[in-house]
Each structure stands twice: as C-alpha cells, then as structure tokens.
C-alpha cells in the first residue's frame, strides 16, 4: 500500500526531440508547457507556481521570469533552479515542497534548450568547458567527458568494472530506444560497436557519451486535493532526497563513492520502500559510467555487479530492473535540463501504463535519479501509481 501522499505529478509531456531546425529555446519551453498543461487538464491561468532551469542557447539570469512573460502568465511564485543534470529532479522536489507547504496548488516545471541546432560548435564546447575549475582544472585541458573518464578509470581500478560493463549500459539504452517512436537514436548497436567507437576520453568512447539534442519537457505537480480533477491517474511523489558532496573533481571526497547513495537512501526512507520494491528505474546516464556508478551506489546492484547483470539483460524489459525505458540520455535525447525531465516524463508514463511497446507490466513504483556536475549534485525521487 502506498504511503499517504500529498503531492503528485498530474501532467507530463515532452516535445519532439533530436534535431529540430527552426526551434528556439523559449518556443520549446512554451510547447512543452502547453502539452503538460493539456495532459493535466489545466488552463495556463490555473498555474500558480513556475519552476524553470537554465539555458545555454538563450541564457538569462531570470529564466523563470523570461518564460512566464513569453507564455503570458503571471503566477504568484516563480524561480529558476540550476543544479546541472540534477535540475529536473531538484525542480520536482522543490515543486513537491511548494504544494505540500500549501504555497501553491499547481506548479509547472519546465526546461528546454535547442543545443543541437541553436549553438555553434565553438560555443557549445566553450560552455561545456566551464564546468572545470578555472584555475586548477581548465588549464590542463579538461572536457566534461574527460572529467567523467577520471571517475571511470578510478571505478574500474577499484571495483574491476570493464569497458564491456560500461558498453552494456549503452546497449541497454539503445535496446529501449528502439521501442520508442520519438527516440533520437534508432539504429541497433552491440557491445562490439561501443568498444570500437572513436575514443573520446579513454576509457570512454563516443558511444559511452550522451547525445546532444534539441527538445523540451514539462511536468505539472499538484497538491493532492487539486489532483482530484486530473483526467489521468496521478503519479504520487512518495519520497525525495538530495546530497551534494563537491562541485569540482579535485575537491571530491572520493572518486568512487558519491552522494547518490545518501540521496537515494533519503528518498527510499521517506517513501517507506526499498530498492528491491522498485518496478522501473529512470537513472541519469550522461555517460555509461554515470549509470553504472549510480546503479551500484543506490543499492540496485552490489559493487561490481551492475555490469555483468546488464550484459545478461537485467536492465531490459523483463529483467531484474528495467532501466531508462525511453532510451535515456544515451539514446533518447539530451537537451540540457530537459534531459533529466525526460526521465521523469517516462516514469509517469510507465506508472500510468501509457508506455506502449516499452511498458513495464504492472509498474507501480518508479525511481528517478538525476546528477549534476561531475557526480557532484544528486537528487532522487520515488514515485508511485496514485
């Protein structure tokens, strides 16, 4: 039986994803927002809270304010949140807090970016280099893949993970994406393809890295009494948790143990469930190593076990833990903060039984996780069919 919940996702939607010539950052925001509102059976004027993220193509210090102006709404609460890849989950957790506190009835959570068509290559590369410490990391030629590769090397050394184990994460994602009509990557891949792809930051190769996409996604988070009129079954927010341990890799307390363990433990504890109870997981996968570390740290698998399990099909439909059933950032799409929201949108669809060819039969409990920085900021959520 579900814990007594007080906040739920009543609307969830994403735009088309991939290469969307002619799209704009704010246009994608508005499209995703209107789709999510329609999904929740609400008019824009019924929204009293708005949470936005950040944008690389149309950056602004007050993005929520820009978005509300663009859409033509004047909510009583709005704010923008920046937590890198954790932003989607952090926004959902913040929306939960706002409706549980009685400050809002319906909070719109929205993020979008047109990173694929809206940025020159130079600007995209420069923006992504900004993650390194300006004095003590960037002078050594860091890139985001290189920073994650530092984690991969340390993790492989300590726990015996192999490149095949990492590749199994990419193949599992692609297998799921083949069942999703909107996914950006629709060509099957095998372990050998991942291993033979171009080295980017050894031990990570091209197919170990997430996509770059245009696209947007949005959620409506409603208070329980306000969720009563929703046309579709609500996805109850049963538990949430966060943990930050560092921002820069040189200041990380460990390169093999990260905050996801604590953020997930909080979320499971508040929801009153255990990892083994989860029917479907949507876990941040900016790189194959990201997913492998998180699956083992969160408690779904023992250390060193996620890779072999994935090779044997554990992350596929019918496996021990169907994971990233939309294809994830590796094979569905990744457009900035919307990337993490795609995981949440998929979790809602799974709990509603709307996932068609990729449906996990009888899914009642979903786990969603986002991480930002270099495994720096973590946010975990447990959702249940309301």
């Amino acid at each position: 039986m579900l814990k007594d919940w007080r906040a739920a996702i009543t609307g969830a939607a994403d735009t088309a994803v991939g290469e969307l010539p002619g799209s704009s950052c704010m246009g994608l925001h508005a499209e995703a927002a209107l789709l999510a509102l329609a999904d929740a059976g609400l008019r824009p004027g019924q929204i009293d809270g708005v949470l936005c993220a950040y944008s690389l193509t149309e950056p602004h210090p007050m993005l929520a304010s820009v978005f509300c102006e663009y859409l033509g709404i004047r909510p009583s609460y709005s704010a923008a949140i920046q937590a890198g890849g954790a932003t989607g989950c952090v926004m959902a957790m913040q929306a939960q807090a706002l409706v549980e506190a009685g400050l809002c009835r319906h909070v719109l959570v929205v993020a979008a970016d047109n990173r694929l068509t809206g940025m020159t290559r130079d600007r995209a590369v420069a923006a992504l280099a900004d993650f390194g410490h300006p004095q003590f990391e960037r002078p050594y030629g860091v890139t985001i893949p290189a920073l994650y590769a530092l984690v991969a090397q340390a993790y492989m050394h300590e726990y015996g993970a192999t490149r095949e184990h990492l590749a199994a994460m990419a193949v599992a994602a692609r297998t799921h994406a083949l069942r999703h009509p909107k996914a950006q990557m629709r060509r099957p891949i095998a372990i050998a393809d991942v291993l033979a792809s171009r080295p980017i930051a050894e031990p990570l190769c091209l197919l170990d890295c997430c996509l770059i996409s245009d696209g947007g996604a949005a959620l409506v988070v409603s208070a329980r009494d306000a969720a009563r009129d929703a046309p579709k079954p609500p996805a109850a927010l049963l538990g949430s948790g966060q943990k930050n341990t560092h921002e820069h890799i040189i200041a990380a307390p460990s390169l093999t143990a990260f905050g996801c363990r604590e953020s997930a433990a909080q979320a499971f504890g508040r929801a009153g469930v255990r990892p083994a109870d989860i029917d479907v997981a949507e876990v941040y996968d900016s790189f194959t190593i990201t997913l492998l570390v998180e699956l083992e740290s969160i408690g779904f698998f023992e250390k060193g076990e996620a890779g072999p399990a994935a090779l044997a099909g554990a992350l596929d439909l019918g496996g021990r833990l169907p994971c990233n059933t939309h294809g994830g950032l590796l094979s569905y799409a990744h457009s900035g903060a919307a990337g993490g929201l795609f995981h949440l949108v998929e979790a809602v669809r799974q709990l509603r039984g709307e996932a068609e060819a990729r449906q996990v039969r009888g899914a009642e409990l979903a786990f969603v996780h986002g991480d930002g920085g270099i495994l720096s900021a973590h946010c975990s959520l447990v959702l249940g069919r309301g």
């Binding site: 004095q135 003590f136 990391e137 050594y140 530092l150």
Partner: protein, 145 residues
C-alpha cells in the same frame, strides 16, 4: 635593434588568473616551487587554495613548499581536445594524490605516446614546471621510475 629571437608559437590553452587567495600558489609555481596552504589549527593541507581551511573552517593558514612527490590517483588519456589543446592529443589529465594528502589535477609529461599500457593508477610521479608563458608556469608531473 635587430636580432630579436622569433616569438615562440603563442600558447593557446586556458591560463589561470590568480586571485589574492591563490597568488602564493602561482608565484610559487613561477619560482618552480609547489606551494600548499596548511591549516595552523587542524594541521592539514588542502587543495585548491582558498580563504579558509575546508576541514575545520579556520582562517589561520600558512603556505609551505610541498615535496612535489605523489602518485596517480586516476587519469584519462584524452583524445578529443579542449580548446587550445588541439595539437596535444592524446594527452593525459591526471588527478595526483600528493604525499602531503591533498589531490590536485595536472597533466602527465610523458616521453612516449600515452597508452593504457604505460600509464597506471598508483604510478609514482614528481612535479616538473612548465613555463607556458613568460607570466604563467603550470605545475605538471612526470612518472618516476
């Protein structure tokens, strides 16, 4: 006057801009010394340098020269260059665990092309100094045998 030497090819990588709290580190590097901030209250060194000790939050800090010895905590052989590193691929970015405890990032200076066979976690290294411009010196590390 004639006969000035041709200027060396301009260094294209990103350069650190020192702040008051990191100036002694970069001044030290320029003098080919690896300097670390130490806490006078808890007795631990930290990195990167900041205005307080991240272990106990004391502001009683003092700079001391480090031994320059350490080992590779983790590394990457980077093939897709950061801006300004296009002519250096593949290059090794490593997290070095210093003998004094803190970890810092650097490049490994190698005699041969780096491969998974000649770079290892736990490999002992020692600091060398790369005067990349007349103003800026970057501490880097070289494998010791």
């Amino acid at each position: 006057m004639t006969g000035n030497p041709a200027p060396a090819a301009a260094y294209k990588g990103p350069l650190p801009r020192a702040t008051p709290e990191t100036q002694p580190f970069w001044d030290g590097a320029k003098a080919h010394k690896l300097m670390l901030p130490w806490c006078e209250d808890c007795g631990q060194a930290h990195f990167y340098p900041r205005a307080l000790c991240p272990h106990c939050h004391s502001v009683r800090l003092a700079w001391r020269q480090a031994s320059g010895r350490g080992k590779v905590h983790t590394f990457v052989i980077n093939h897709k260059a950061a801006r300004g590193f296009e002519d250096k691929v593949p290059y090794v970015i490593a997290v070095i665990e210093l003998e004094e405890g803190p970890r810092m990032m650097s490049n490994l200076v190698m005699d041969e092309t780096p491969t998974p066979e000649n770079v290892h976690v736990e490999m002992p290294v020692a600091v060398v100094f790369d005067d990349v411009t007349p103003e800026v010196t970057l501490p880097k590390f070289r494998p010791v045998r």
